[in-house]
């Protein structure tokens, strides 16, 4: 077979500056990568990690009670202050709330996400994703204010429960020590309701995404080997979707740990970590203690992720 000569080189475009520039970047992958990542890295390292470092450093200073001056020397006095009973109370209250909200959110989100991922027809599914995301388009402050009105003593929820003659149930709930109060608007129960509502979309989306990634034929295989649908759910579906639950709970847990607006607007006067940080860095000028308080959620999240990893929550990733 005689080869037919073809001048492939004739098709090449003329040499230009841009052409040589693209060739340069094509050959020097590291330089392209540096250029690509320069601005986000600068922002991350200087502003984000820098402020975190400043925070950590500050937490090892302490506020001199007599002079009102911050003593810039390494000391653990601030951490000793952090461990005083009143502050431990704040931390415990916040962590319990964050746990309760995460559990409630995952219980509420899972059925919704399951329906979205496994049953809904494409149009219904698109509508549901839209509906889940819609609240995030309005300001979080506006929504918290709306809840204040809903939960107030003379608000719409109390009125509605009166219509249903269920105010006895509400009063019984509000009478419970620890979670009750004079009305939902000023009780830990109210704080819990608003937290749960606010972080719910952040729980639904990762669980739905995880459930959509579970292949149908893996579920078929389980049934094929004799497993009833409930067994398939506990043995296959749930373990495979669990990283989604963990991802969602990271949102709900960490966002609750740091929030100061919701407990400030809906709830009683007991502080949460976020409020304590706000108060210490503002009015009392105790920046070191505020910094030490901020370290708490970071440490808790670190431990949380480690435990989740140990439990094999990320094995299916």
């Amino acid at each position: 077979m005689a080869a037919t000569p073809t001048d492939f080189g004739a098709a090449a475009p003329p040499d230009s500056f841009w052409r040589r520039l693209s060739t340069f970047f094509y050959r020097h992958k590291t330089i392209s990568l540096i250029l690509l990542l320069a601005s986000p890295l600068l922002l991350l390292v200087v502003i984000y990690l820098g402020s975190l470092a400043a925070l950590l450093v500050n937490s090892f200073f302490y506020l001199d009670g007599f002079t009102g001056q911050i003593v810039k020397q390494f000391t653990l006095k601030t951490y000793a202050q952090l461990l005083q009973p009143a502050n431990i109370d704040i931390i415990r209250r916040t962590v319990v709330m964050a746990l309760a909200v995460s559990v409630a959110d995952s219980l509420l989100a899972f059925p919704v996400a399951y329906y979205m991922a496994r049953y809904a027809a494409p149009r219904t599914k698109a509508f549901l994703y839209f509906a889940v995301l819609l609240p995030l388009w309005s300001s979080y402050l506006v929504r918290v204010y709306a809840w204040r009105l809903i939960l107030a003593q003379e608000g719409i929820l109390t009125w509605f429960l009166n219509v249903l003659h269920l105010n006895g149930v509400l009063n019984a709930l509000l009478g419970l020590p620890g979670i009750g109060g004079t009305s939902l608007g000023v009780s830990p129960l109210g704080t819990f309701i608003v937290f749960t509502y606010t972080w719910l979309p952040y729980m639904i989306l990762p669980i739905a995404a995880a459930l959509e990634r579970v292949p149908q034929n893996v579920l078929d295989a389980s049934g094929d080997l004799g497993a009833h649908p409930s067994t398939t759910f506990w043995r296959i579906t749930l373990p495979l979707a669990f990283p989604g639950v963990i991802a969602g709970s990271i949102f709900s847990f960490s966002l609750t740990l740091g929030d100061f607006i919701i407990p400030g607007m809906v709830g009683n006067s007991s502080y949460f970590i976020g409020q304590a940080v706000l108060a210490h860095q503002g009015t009392s000028g105790n920046l070191p203690l505020a910094a030490a308080f901020t370290v708490v959620p970071i440490v808790i999240m670190g431990i949380y992720l480690l435990v989740a990893r140990r439990m094999g929550a990320f094995d299916a990733l």
Partner: protein, 346 residues
């Protein structure tokens, strides 16, 4: 006839409709106990749907499916004594190989020591001993295939369904697995129902083959029957390569307008004018294309009326240079009349 054994699977008038589309159209078929039975057909011919109907992942629109004489249409998968080897393996990614293989036994609440023993035996059978602690993601495609097979066999089902299980493997591994699968089937002695679009695979392994087309079974028979005596033009064309000759050309060659098929390997190429025996057919033409395939060479010969016939010849003494030079050469094609297979208007 009354003492005939109960078939492993009996389809009676089974149809599965998706809207207007008949994925499976009035299927009547018996698959015998202990048989290696292959459902062969192009994609969309209904073979995979048929398999899913047996597994219970899908239910027939009408008709009856009996498993050893017991009606199973309408039963969910977990109440049928059949298991499946899936096309893309469908291993449980969060479990180890051992947990995957032992899953069916765990569901049946077999105690752990016995479970582990049987898992080890099963891994031995599929030649993966000692891999029980690995995760599926650490295995190669061929190894995953073996795990899927072990997982499906451990519960000792009466029928094993295999949905194009070798489709994702490379040629060498596929040929090796074909031999192994057949060996395992003979060892465990249960019915295998095997879905494939690869006619060579079907011919290699099967006791019997059903050729599917457009939701219907075109022909059921042993590999040799299917290959040597195709009933329809579709079977002749899909299983191996065939030359279909009909109409005026058939009349010229055989003296009858009856359409027939002739396999390319049955045709001999001679020089124009060579003597033709009394029991032989002949046609003259010109070689218009030559494809050198290593083991053999495939020629495309154009006849006087413009139709083309495919002819293959083994490369006994020829070299690629010789065969390439044949391009454009006038030839006479001769074959024995007995190799003509009359074809109905399928």
């Amino acid at each position: 006839m009354s003492t005939q054994p109960v078939p492993a699977i009996r389809f009676s008038g089974v149809s599965r409709l998706f809207g207007e589309m008949k994925a499976v159209d009035n299927l009547n078929l018996d698959i015998l106990d202990g048989e290696f039975f292959t459902l062969l057909g192009p994609s969309g011919s209904g073979k995979t749907t048929t398999l899913r109907l047996v597994a219970g992942f899908d239910q027939p629109t009408s008709g009856s499916i009996q498993l050893f004489g017991q009606e199973v249409a309408g039963l969910p998968p977990y109440e049928r004594d059949v298991t499946t080897v899936f096309q893309d393996y469908a291993l449980f990614p969060h479990m180890t190989v051992g947990e995957n293989v032992g899953y069916g036994l765990m569901i049946r609440k077999v105690p752990k020591p016995e479970r582990e023993k049987r898992v080890a035996e099963m891994l031995e059978l599929v030649r993966l001993p000692g891999l029980a602690e690995r995760k599926p993601s650490q295995l190669s495609g061929g190894q995953r295939q073996r795990v899927a097979l072990a997982r499906a066999l451990i519960t000792k089902p009466r029928v094993l369904l295999l949905d194009e299980p070798l489709g994702a493997l490379d040629l060498k591994l596929r040929q090796q697995m074909q031999v192994e699968l057949k060996g395992i089937q003979e060892q465990v002695g249960i019915t295998f129902i095997y879905v494939t679009h690869d006619q060579e695979e079907a011919l290699t392994m099967s006791d019997r083959v059903a050729v599917f087309n457009l939701g219907r079974v075109e022909q059921v028979g042993s590999p040799a029957e299917i290959y040597e005596h195709p009933n329809t033009a579709f079977v002749a064309g899909f299983v191996g390569t065939s030359n279909l000759i009909s109409g005026e050309l058939a009349n010229t060659i055989t003296g009858s307008p009856q359409a027939f098929s002739i396999r390319p390997e049955k045709i001999r190429m001679c020089s124009p004018g060579d003597p033709v025996g009394a029991e032989a057919c002949a046609a003259e033409g010109k070689i218009i294309d030559v494809a050198y395939l290593g083991v053999m060479t495939r020629y495309l010969v154009e006849l006087a009326d413009g139709s083309t016939l495919t002819v293959v010849e083994q490369n006994l003494a020829t070299t690629s240079m010789d065969v390439m030079a044949a391009q454009g050469r006038p030839v006479q094609l001769i074959w024995q009349r007995e190799h003509n297979r009359p074809i109905g208007e399928g």
